[in-house]
Structures are given as structure tokens and as C-alpha cells.
């Protein structure tokens, strides 16, 4: 299929939701799919209905300020004056770090960049982090350790189409990014998931480990790779270092031992090893199921070790990748809204990086704050002022009871959003901002390709772009107006300079090149550089060019089941909703298809709790109780329940989740906690 010429009055754009960034075309308030390498003309129900939010009655159209406990409309000047005055007061009284900024992985590169700059320059606070901490941080940390660089997929998504075998760990793209599944159709697919998900249904081999035991499974498969003669000695010698230490751990995980811990048959572990080893081209992909753990970084390292033992990364047609979740989950983690990071994937604690970025910003490097704390810690330490952009923390953070209490104790909560999310509803000031089709901006999709989304429709009259909001606040905080431009392209040009020479080098990406339809995967270090669709083909990004095996061992979930909480709960998504559901719950067609939270339970576990299919259950953990509709599923483990996390209030799956953090990535343990089941 060739890309058709757009009809008059239409704009080529990309879907507002996940990191697949399906190509779509918008005409007025309707969208239709278009051919693009990631979606090849497909759209899921979320994509098809995405325009419904452009004129939804739930849309925020004017600034709101809390007066006598109620949010009331006001003017932009009044709202921004109020916010700026209060920020100055709070910082004067309690120090710079008393004000925190919370960003999102759905923000464009320009917004993410500007938000980081705003926090460090206009507010001078070290307290900035974002919801990507809850998403890609373990994958990113493990990628940095192994390869010296974190690009979720260091290869174009189309490479998967030519693979003979794919091992997908902890991902359910058949629901979370449906058109992606087209790329897996011809490969022998091995899916690792404690649930028999829609994706697992498509697999040649489904490995169903007990939640939180993925690391033991990876070690068991690695053992089988070695013992069954599949180890790629030539590749190990030429391109890697550190195998021996990893083997000494994996040696103790012969498949029969891994079976006892994981519940995955030893024979299936060997079959997976053989299936990957005999494939001419193979990929190992991880996603949140294996990453959102208190040992998530180690879990990803274990899967990378397996991929390295099989000789996959950095080889044309094979590789290792992580499936990024949010629309700009990749770009959002590269340009400075992360606690320890500056634009271009530079480290905030690196003096050379500070000097480079400070020069671009026109400030003294000494004035830049030190690295701050991670998302959950930032909320947990109780900021006096909190600015939230593009995130619905009240629903998406772990231990929702604790998080909502933290939010309610903030002296000044400011939320910029498209709709009145549960977090916005708690705010002192709510700022209505533009959404995808109403503004220009770039995003970096799951394969590290930079995409331009152009303004296609006029935003409601009294709605500002986030860049305008940041400009308005920065000026009120005493910044020179020119330091915070409002044109996306101007911000991007500054981002290019700030990222130049960094790991995620965007200096060669221009709006013109993107308008011309060039496929530019970072790094793009010069305007005449063709981009890097496949990274690591010659060398990995460590100084010696070698990939690192990282020795990691299994230790199990932070909260094992016990007599009081004998079941384990895991969380995830359904096809019809996106993230906290703030947007998709307002789309009538999606809300009608999946109106409320459910809990997937084995029929025996339900019966034992006195529950039948369709009943209302209470799912109880040490931290909270969720009321959810029982859905009996015979294919789930007897000791496991599953809840989607798109719902607010008493239906929020995050009432249950464990905020135990990964020591490296600071990722909370979303994917496993101990619960019991009761009649609601």
C-alpha cells in the first residue's frame, strides 16, 4: 500500500494514545486510519473514537479556581497570578524544593523539555519527576546498564515482521496496542504472562509463571540455552563482557528448579530456549508485566542476559526491545522531566552535561539544582506546592489511599489537563490545555522515531497550550519572556541544541525534515544525518563498545501471600481504556463497552469466596479495598486475580498496589501484591 495523498481539509496525524502512534487522518471531528509503518492502516477502538474528546462535554474550557471548597471559573490572568504568587510564598517560606513538578509520558517532546527547564530554571526546584517513572523506568535502567543507551526498541517495528521467533515477556499488545499484533503474525510467538491474555491466546507457547517470579524463569531458560548447546560463543566473545558471572547464577537455576519456583514446566523452558535458538532471526521484548516490580530492573536485566546469550542484540534482523507504553513514553524520558536528567538523555549529576545545557538555557551551571527524588517519593515526602501536567496521579500512582492523602495535604495543587481528571478535581487551580489535534508538537514513538503531530483543529477559545501556560508562569516568576517561547517549533529548535552531543541526540531533526515525511530515529546528530533506525549494529554505547551481562538473581515478590492475604493480584489494561481512563471514560462508545472495573478470578477461587460471575467482590490488600465485578476466567491461575487500573474511586486497582520501590529505577511494585477476596 502507498500513502495516499491527503484529501483537502484533512490533516495527517497520529493517534493521541499509546506509543505505537498509529497513523491517522483527521477531517473536522472525525478520524480514519492511514497507512503508517507502525499500524499499517489499522486502528483499535480507542483510535477510531479518539476525536470524540475534541468536543466532549467533559472537556475543560476555562481556568478554575477553588473558592470556598468549590472549583469556579476564572480568568487566565487571575489563575496564573494566583499560582505564581502562591509559589513564591511557598518557596520563600519553605525553600525551593517545597514546590514540586509532576509531568507525563503523554506530553510532547517540547512540553517535556520545557517543563524540565521550567522546574530547574524558573522554580529552581530539584523536585521534578513524571509518570514515566511508573512506566518505563525499569526498562530504561536495565537498557542503560546493558547497552549504555536506552532506546525502547533500537530497531524499526517492521523488523519484527521478518522474525522467525519472538519472546514477549509481560506484554499484552492484543489489547494495549492492537495494530502492533500484525507485526507478530508470522513469527513463532512465546508469551510470558501469568494470565492467558488475548496475546497469550495467539502464542505458539504460553509460559504462565507465578507473578513476580519472571527472573527465575529467565534464569531457567538461560540455563537451558547453555545446557542444550545454544550459547552463541562467537557473539559473546566479540560483543559482550561479563557472561561468566551471570552463568554462575544461572547454573544454579536448572529448569526443574526454576519450574518449582515459577510453575512453568521445565520442558516448556527448554522448548522456549530451542525455539529462540533455532530461529534465524529472533527478538526478545519486555513490557510492564515484568518491569513493574520492586526488582524490575533486575528482571529486565535477566531477559537482556538471555537475549545476549542467544546473540540477538545489535544484529540486523534480531534484537532486544522494550515496548514503550505511553504516547511519548520514549521522548518523555529523554528531555529532562525525569528527576536525574537533562535534555538529550544527559545526566544531571554530570558537570559537562550541566555546563552544556546551562549554556543553551543562558544560566549559570551552578544554579541548576541537584538530582531530585522519584515520582512516588516526591509525592510521599509531601510537597507544599505541586504542579501536575499530563498525569492523573490520583488514579495511576500506587497505594492510592496514601497518594490521595498526599495530594489532599498539598497547600497548592495546580493541574493542567484536557479534562477534569480525578487529580484535577482535587486541585486548587485547574488550567485547561490543548490536546493532540489542537497543537503542534513532536513525539518519539516506541521505536525511537520522531513524529510530528500538527495542529488540525482550532482549540476551544479559552484553552491554552501547555507551552503558553509555562510561559505565563515563568514570566510571572521573573523569567525573561524569550527564555520560554510558546511556539512548539522554537522550543524544538532549542531542544535540538540542548540534546546535541547527548545520547538522545536530536540536533539533526528539524520540523522541515519531519514535514517531508523523513523517518528519523534518534540519534540524529546532524541535519544531513539519515538517523539511526538500527542502533548497536557496530557497537554498543558503552565506552568499550561491548554489551554488559549483568549478574542478577531471583528473590521473589516484596509481599508474598500469607494466610491473611492468600491470593496475589496483578493489574493491567483493557483494550477500550487508556491509562487512568480520564480520557477514554469520557468517550461514550468506550465507556459503554467497558463501564466499570472487574476482577478476573478463577471460578474455584470465586466459589470459595462465595462469589459467582457478575457478583460484586471486595478485593482487599493491606493498603485498601477495591469493589469490582467478578469475571470468572477458567484459564487464570487459581491463586491469582487481575484488575484493570483505569477506574477511579472505590474501583481503583491502585488502592491495592504495593509502593515498594526498585532500588535502581524507583519503580513501584505494581504488578504483584497479596490480597484476599470477599463478598462486597
Amino acid at each position: 500500500m502507498t500513502i495516499a495523498t491527503p484529501r483537502t481539509g484533512t490533516t495527517d496525524t497520529h493517534c493521541p494514545y499509546c506509543a505505537l502512534q498509529c497513523g491517522m487522518r483527521i477531517a473536522g471531528k472525525t478520524v480514519e486510519p492511514r497507512d503508517f509503518p507502525t499500524n499499517r492502516g489499522g486502528l483499535c477502538q480507542k483510535g477510531w473514537t479518539s476525536a470524540a474528546l475534541l468536543d466532549s462535554p467533559g472537556r475543560l474550557t476555562e481556568p478554575l479556581v477553588r473558592v470556598n471548597g468549590r472549583l469556579r471559573p476564572t480568568t487566565w490572568d487571575h489563575a496564573l497570578d494566583l499560582v505564581a504568587d502562591r509559589l513564591v510564598e511557598l518557596q520563600a517560606a519553605h525553600g525551593r524544593d517545597a514546590v514540586a513538578v509532576f509531568g507525563g509520558g503523554g506530553l510532547t517532546n517540547e512540553k517535556a523539555y520545557q517543563l524540565g527547564k521550567f522546574a530547574r530554571v524558573a522554580l529552581g526546584t530539584s523536585r521534578i519527576d513524571y509518570n514515566g517513572r511508573f512506566c518505563m523506568s525499569s526498562a530504561a535502567a536495565a537498557g542503560m546498564k546493558a547497552f549504555g543507551m536506552d532506546r525502547g526498541m533500537p530497531f524499526p517495528v517492521e523488523d519484527l515482521r521478518r522474525a522467525d521467533a519472538v519472546l514477549l515477556v509481560g506484554g499484552n499488545p492484543a489489547e494495549t496496542m492492537p495494530p502492533f499484533v500484525q507485526h507478530l503474525r508470522d513469527a513463532e510467538l512465546v508469551v510470558v504472562d501469568p494470565r492467558r491474555s488475548a496475546t497469550a491466546e495467539k502464542a505458539a507457547l504460553h509460559l504462565q509463571p507465578a507473578p513476580g517470579t519472571d527472573l527465575a524463569l529467565a534464569l531457567g531458560i538461560l540455563h537451558a540455552v547453555v545446557a542444550d548447546g545454544h550459547l552463541r560463543h562467537d557473539y559473546l566473545a566479540a560483543r559482550t563482557t561479563g557472561f561468566d558471572d551471570v552463568w554462575r547464577i544461572a547454573a544454579a537455576w536448572w529448569p526443574e528448579r526454576a519450574e518449582r519456583v515459577t510453575g512453568v514446566a521445565a520442558g516448556d523452558q527448554r522448548a522456549a530456549a530451542a525455539l529462540l535458538a533455532r530461529a534465524a532471526n529472533a527478538f526478545v521484548l519486555t513490557a510492564r508485566g515484568t518491569e513493574q516490580h520492586a526488582r524490575g530492573t533486575d528482571m529486565v536485566s535477566a531477559w537482556i542476559n538471555l537475549a545476549l546469550a542467544l546473540g540477538l542484540p545489535g544484529r540486523q534482523g534480531s534484537g532486544f526491545g522494550c515496548l514503550t507504553g505511553q504516547g511519548n513514553g520514549q521522548g518523555g524520558r529523554e528531555h529532562g522531566q525525569k528527576a536525574d536528567q537533562l535534555p538529550g538523555y544527559r545526566r544531571l549529576d554530570d558537570p559537562a552535561a550541566r555546563a552544556h545545557v546551562a549554556a543553551v538555557w543562558g544560566v549559570d551551571p551552578e544554579s541548576l539544582p541537584a538530582p531530585g527524588v522519584s515520582a512516588y517519593e516526591l509525592l510521599d515526602e509531601g510537597p507544599r506546592g505541586l504542579l501536575v501536567f499530563g498525569s492523573n496521579i490520583a488514579v495511576s500512582a500506587p497505594h492510592a489511599n496514601r497518594t490521595t492523602r498526599s495530594l489532599s495535604e498539598v497547600d497548592l495543587l495546580v493541574v493542567a489537563d484536557v479534562v477534569l481528571s480525578e487529580t484535577a478535581a482535587m486541585a486548587d487551580v485547574v488550567l485547561p490545555v490543548t490536546q493532540w489535534a489542537e497543537e503542534d508538537g513532536t513525539l518519539t514513538n516506541l521505536e525511537g522515531r520522531v513524529l510530528l503531530r500538527r495542529r488540525a483543529v482550532r482549540p476551544p477559545e479559552n484553552v491554552w497550550t501547555d507551552l503558553e501556560v509555562l510561559h505565563g508562569l515563568a514570566v510571572r516568576l521573573g523569567q525573561p519572556p524569550a527564555r520560554f517561547p510558546v511556539e512548539a517549533e522554537a522550543v524544538f529548535d532549542e531542544l535540538r541544541r540542548a540534546s546535541a552531543g547527548g545520547l538522545a541526540d536530536y540536533s539533526g531533526v528539524t520540523y522541515d525534515r519531519l514535514r517531508d515525511g523523513e523517518a528519523l530515529h534518534w540519534p540524529v546528530p546532524a541535519v544531513d544525518h539519515p538517523g539511526t533506525p538500527r542502533a548497536f549494529l557496530d557497537r554498543f554505547a558503552h565506552a568499550d563498545g561491548l554489551a554488559r551481562f549483568v549478574p542478577v538473581d531471583h528473590s521473589g515478590p516484596a509481599e508474598p501471600p500469607d494466610d491473611e492475604f492468600p491470593l496475589q493480584a496483578t493489574t493491567g489494561r483493557v483494550l477500550q481504556h487508556y491509562q487512568s481512563g480520564a480520557q477514554t471514560r469520557l468517550v461514550p462508545e468506550l465507556a459503554a463497552a467497558v463501564p466499570e472495573v472487574h476482577v478476573e478470578v478463577h471460578p474455584d477461587a470465586a466459589a470459595r469466596a462465595g462469589l459467582a460471575d457478575g457478583d460484586l467482590a471486595a478485593v482487599v490488600s493491606r493498603r485498601g479495598t477495591v469493589r469490582a465485578r467478578v469475571r470468572c476466567v477458567a484459564t487464570i491461575r487459581v491463586d491469582l486475580v487481575f484488575l484493570p487500573f483505569h477506574f477511579p474511586g472505590s474501583g481503583s486497582a491502585n488502592l491495592l498496589t504495593n509502593p515498594e520501590l526498585d532500588p535502581t529505577s524507583r519503580m513501584p511494585e505494581f504488578k504483584v501484591c497479596a490480597v484476599r477476596l470477599e463478598v462486597a
Binding site: G42, L43, Q45, V181, G263, A265, V633
Partner: protein
């Protein structure tokens, strides 16, 4: 010098006798947990510790001896361990708190840990032991050196006899058969692995091994061994063998403990702190006897090492070892066997629920014993995924699913799968296009509204416009609706 007289701040001196699976793991865990410990490890074998569990993989050819080493040569230096290999301890002086080495020197301890393991038992077969040493052409199956002898002798085609049809004997036999050696297992009892299996399972296992080139001789003893010729059995028959592997059980190595006056029964008796009746002496692994444990397996040894490391480093003073649930899991290619718990309960047992399914032709046997809805015993042979699931139910104490047969059959009968042979048979409410939540009834409705063909149905309902995976189903529904329309009512 006793511990109490030593300088304050100096570490407690822990001396570990034995550098096998248990001793090596204990040393690792002590170093992993920190604390102020001066650590000495004394190993009798002349090389670094290795993973004994993997010796069957070495015999089978999957792993080289080098790959089963637990530690590299630099390990002790990096972890500040005074490691002495090829060092034999000849006695313990409990009063002086030191151990005496074969060369006459002594090593002082505050805490002594015996991790001396076990040694093979060799049956009184005539000609097998000559002056207490195995005759030429025979080896036990216990050490890396044993393995190297076996591998060296196992030239393809050389017939090999394995004495002993227990777990290790069968693993060795399977490994050697896989190398191309004709193998005969000689076992004095009426069925294989009689401690872990009932008779039915033993028979199915023997039949399965036969298909893999392992002949099994049951209920007979080896009467005489003639090097180069083979074994003469006590029923008068002859097993030709160029080499004999002796795998007839082990005896806990307790000589040091016994000589030192510690309480020894089958093994060195220890309590839940892994302590002997001398508070300064502990024992772990095969040489130890704890009421909750069957010795001879690695899992208890590792769990004991973990507990003892907690206690010796002061990481926790309240940790106790309460025993290990024993699961026997054969590691032999193409023979998938798990057995545990109450395996000898009969199907007519009245105080337990016992299910048993035997399919000897296909090498399958599954027995499940339950009490109060919990699995208390099982034998699962040839149904690998069921073995994995049932073991998890047992280990985790999870109530078993009510569909016991499905549990026994594993993937042979995936639960909850209803097979529709044609889209025509699908219930109307079935979601056909998941990406766009389109049910079969919505497609039928769209057809009635005039939509024709896959593209017409796609335009009307968006079915097939996501991942496209439902294209064939939608196409079949379109064909069915078209043909139904042509057929007069």
C-alpha cells in the same frame, strides 16, 4: 584462645568443614549478608566447589566440567575467605575449639560448621571393591572426578551397566543412553525409585526408559563384577558392560562428628538452629539430620545455609529452619517426572481423595492425593505442565481446582476452551473483532442493514480494521450469511 578472650571488634571466627553445595552456599550467603565474620572454608577435594546437581548434565554431555564450577579461582580472595582446598580435617578438639588437619596443624574456631556431605554406599557385589577401592571399569557417581571417569569410559557403543534404579542412577542412565551407549539399569527392588514412586508409576517409567535405550532389570541383585565383561546377576543372567556406574545410595559423612562425641543417628542430629548438641558446632546439608528433612537433596542444604548465614552474621537471631517440603524431580531429557508427598496412598483409601490415571503406552502416569482440598501427594510422569502446576499447589498450599481431571491432564485438556468448528457455531455474543469490540450479532445486524462482504462489514462495524486478525472469521461469517440468503427458507 577462646572467642571471649579475643579483641573486641575482631570478627567471629567461623570455620566451615566441607566445600561442596552446602559449604559453598553458606560461605556465599555469609558474605552476601555482611556482618563481622572471619571465614575459613576447608575442602577435601582438590578443586573449587562445583554444582553436584549438574553432574548428570556433564555425563549427558550438555555441560563441560568447567561450567559446573560454583566459584572461579579468584572467588575466595575477592570475598575475603580463607579457602583451603585439598585439605582434610582429621579431628575436632571441642575443648580447645580447633580442628586438626591431616598435616598436623590446627585451625581455631568460635563457630564450627560441618558440611561434610555424604559418601556413596557400594553394595557387597563380589569383585566390585578390591581392598576397599572400586575395581577398574567401575565408578561411583558422586564427584566431578567420577564424572570425568564415566565420560572417558563412555565411548559411543560401549555397553554400560548402572547399579541402582534410584533418581541419580536413572539420570546417569538417561544421560549415557543419550550419548549412544546401550545402558542396563540393575535394581534389586521390584520397581524403580521405590521410595518416591508407587509400583504403577515405576512400571510406566521403566517402559518409558526402554523407548530411550535404557533396559531395566528389576528385582535382581548384581552378584559378581568382572572388569571388561560385566555383571553376573543373582538370577544367573549376565549383563554385558564395559563400564559400571554405581549409584546405590549415599551415607552421611559423620565420622568427624561421631569421633568428637556429638550425637549422631543416621546423620549429625541438629535442631531448628542447625545446631548440634555442642552449641559451638552446627551441621548443614547431607551430613545433618533434621526432623523435617530427607537428606540427599540440595534444596534443604541451601535453605539451611540461608538460615545459618542469618544466624552467624547476626542478620536475624530468630530465623529458624523448619524443614523442607521434598519434591523429587527427575532431570532427564524426555522423561518428565515429579513426585512428592503421600505417593503410596491407594485409590480405595477412605481418608484421602486419590485419583490415578495410567497411560503406559504413551509413557504417562498421573496420581493425585488430596486431603481437605489440598494436594498432599502426587506422581506426575509424562504430563510436564501438570507436574509444574501440581507442584505449585503443593508448595504454596493452594486449594486445588475442583476440576481434578483437568488438573491431572495438564495441557492435554486446556481448561475453559470451547471449540467452535466454524464461525457459524459461535454464540451471537462472541466478540469477533477484539480491537473494535464487534460481536457476531453486530456483524449479522450490519449484514441485515445492507453491508456486504468483508469490506462492507468493516465499514459498518470497523471489524478487521485493528490488527486484522479476525479477517478470516469475518469472511466466513460473510460467506455464511450470503449462502443463508441464497437458500430458500
Amino acid at each position: 584462645m577462646s572467642g571471649a578472650l579475643r579483641d573486641r571488634g575482631a570478627g567471629v571466627r567461623v570455620v566451615v568443614v566441607g566445600y561442596g553445595m552446602a559449604g559453598a552456599r553458606l560461605a556465599e550467603r555469609i558474605r552476601g549478608k555482611g556482618g563481622n565474620v572471619e571465614l575459613t572454608v576447608l575442602g577435601a577435594e582438590p578443586h573449587a566447589a562445583y554444582n553436584r546437581i549438574l553432574l548428570s548434565s556433564v555425563v549427558g554431555g550438555g555441560l563441560t566440567p568447567e561450567m559446573v564450577r560454583l566459584h572461579d579461582e579468584d572467588w575466595a580472595r575477592r570475598h575475603d575467605v580463607d579457602l583451603r582446598i585439598a585439605t582434610t580435617v582429621s579431628a575436632i578438639d571441642r575443648a580447645a575449639r580447633h580442628v586438626m588437619l591431616a598435616d598436623g596443624s590446627t585451625v581455631d574456631y568460635d563457630v564450627l560448621v560441618l558440611a561434610t556431605g555424604s559418601r556413596p554406599w557400594v553394595p557387597p557385589t563380589e569383585g566390585l571393591l578390591v581392598d576397599g577401592v572400586l575395581a577398574p571399569g567401575a565408578a561411583t557417581f558422586r564427584t566431578l572426578d567420577d564424572c570425568e571417569r564415566i565420560v572417558a569410559a563412555a565411548a559411543p557403543g560401549t555397553p554400560i551397566a548402572v547399579l541402582g534404579g534410584g533418581l541419580l542412577g536413572i539420570e546417569a542412565a538417561r544421560g549415557l543412553a543419550g550419548r549412544g551407549n546401550p545402558v542396563t539399569v540393575v535394581h534389586p527392588v521390584g520397581h524403580l525409585m521405590e521410595r518416591q514412586l508407587d509400583r504403577g508409576a515405576g512400571q510406566v517409567l521403566a517402559a518409558r526408559l526402554a523407548t530411550l535405550g535404557v533396559e531395566v532389570r528389576l528385582g535382581v541383585k548384581a552378584a559378581r563384577y568382572v572388569p571388561g565383561d560385566g555383571l553376573k546377576l543373582d538370577d544367573g543372567s549376565h549383563v554385558p558392560a564395559g563400564f559400571v556406574v554405581v549409584s546405590t545410595g549415599v551415607i552421611p559423612e559423620t565420622t568427624l562428628a561421631r569421633d568428637a562425641g556429638l550425637t549422631v543417628e543416621r546423620g549429625i542430629v541438629v535442631d531448628d538452629s542447625l545446631r548440634t548438641d555442642d552449641a559451638a558446632i552446627h551441621a548443614i546439608g547431607d551430613c545433618a539430620q533434621h526432623p523435617g528433612t530427607v537428606s540427599g537433596l540440595v534444596q534443604p542444604a541451601w535453605e539451611q545455609a540461608e538460615v545459618l548465614a542469618d544466624l552467624l552474621t547476626g542478620t536475624s537471631t530468630t530465623t529458624r529452619y523448619r524443614g523442607t517440603a521434598n519434591v523429587t524431580r527427575l532431570k532427564a531429557r524426555d522423561v518428565d517426572l515429579a513426585a512428592f508427598g503421600d505417593v503410596h496412598a491407594e485409590v480405595d483409601n477412605t481418608d484421602a481423595e486419590v485419583l490415578c490415571l495410567s497411560d503406559p503406552t504413551r509413557g504417562r502416569y498421573a496420581k493425585l492425593v488430596l486431603r481437605d482440598d489440598r494436594v498432599t501427594g502426587a506422581i506426575v510422569l509424562g504430563v510436564p505442565d501438570a507436574a509444574a502446576t501440581i507442584t505449585q499447589l503443593y508448595d504454596r498450599g493452594i486449594p486445588a481446582p475442583s476440576d481434578r481431571i483437568a488438573l491431572l491432564l495438564g495441557r492435554t485438556l486446556p481448561p475453559g476452551v470451547s471449540v467452535a468448528h466454524s464461525p457459524v457455531d459461535l454464540p451471537a455474543a462472541t466478540t469477533v473483532c477484539r480491537c473494535n469490540t464487534v460481536s457476531k450479532s453486530q456483524l449479522v445486524k450490519a449484514w441485515r442493514g445492507g453491508a456486504r462482504g468483508v469490506s462492507g462489514l468493516a465499514t459498518a462495524t470497523r471489524a478487521t480494521t485493528g490488527c486484522g486478525g479476525c479477517h478470516d472469521t469475518v469472511s466466513a461469517i460473510a460467506d455464511w450469511l450470503a449462502s443463508a440468503e441464497e437458500t430458500p427458507a
